[in-house]
Symmetry: C2
């Protein structure tokens, strides 16, 4: 038995150590996408992709998501102008999470609140209380 | 009616613009956690937290996840030594995704394959074919 024959197409070892692209969609049909500003290298947002969104992203070079709230394929930027041009797509060991490094169009933001990043607050615990604190815009960078 | 009275506790505006910590767990009881090396500022892994894991993380300062494959609460590092000490926790606009900035114990890695980051491959498309390519260790940094 040679080395290749030992690897089942969907075995963990092949999925983790191979070059075959075999994204593992969850029970909800989705994978997680962490989207990163390619220039500033900080996290802009976390989204979800179904197979159609992932394929459209790779085929067009423009990031598509699956909107869980609207139940629809969503080409980011269609209404906001905040398009995301894919620079590089990375995948994790078990192929159920992706990092999309992007150049952002429009005003350069990704968050529907008008901020550049969706991660504009941090969690603070003080005694038993847990509260959020807003991060200064200049330090939202990962 | 004053400004405060306009905000329902779980309204989108309060969730997005307030200081109340009200994590929104999905139908599966989980939120997404993107874990970032606090010193190098790159993404190490993507994990999931149920309410118990999130609370344990904030209470102890050591990152806990919910293992979907094992169906169990999981204190990262218990077997590998790759503990993750929380430096800062950020939350996104709708409070269903978190960024955990961590200092990593043990060998400094996060991936069960032995690599520092789980994102050690990138997706390449060539004609109609989609394949993965390994990233050099020195460039796995986000």
């Amino acid at each position: 038995m040679n080395e290749t024959a030992k690897l089942e197409p969907d075995s963990p070892s092949n999925r983790e150590e191979g070059r075959a692209f075999s994204p593992r969609f969850g029970a909800d049909g989705l994978v997680t996408c962490v989207t990163i500003d390619a220039a500033r290298r900080d996290v802009l947002m976390v989204g979800h992709m179904n197979e159609a969104a992932l394929r459209a992203t790779l085929a067009t070079g423009t990031v598509h998501y699956w909107s869980r709230s609207r139940g629809a394929l969503w080409r980011k930027g269609d209404t906001s102008g905040q398009t995301q041009t894919l620079v590089e797509m990375r995948v994790d060991c078990d192929q159920d999470a992706f990092l999309a490094f992007v150049n952002v169009g429009g005003d350069g933001g990704a968050c529907h609140t008008g901020r550049r990043s969706c991660f504009y607050r941090k969690v603070e615990t003080d005694g038993g209380a847990t509260r959020l604190a807003f991060i200064e815009p200049s330090t939202t960078n990962g």
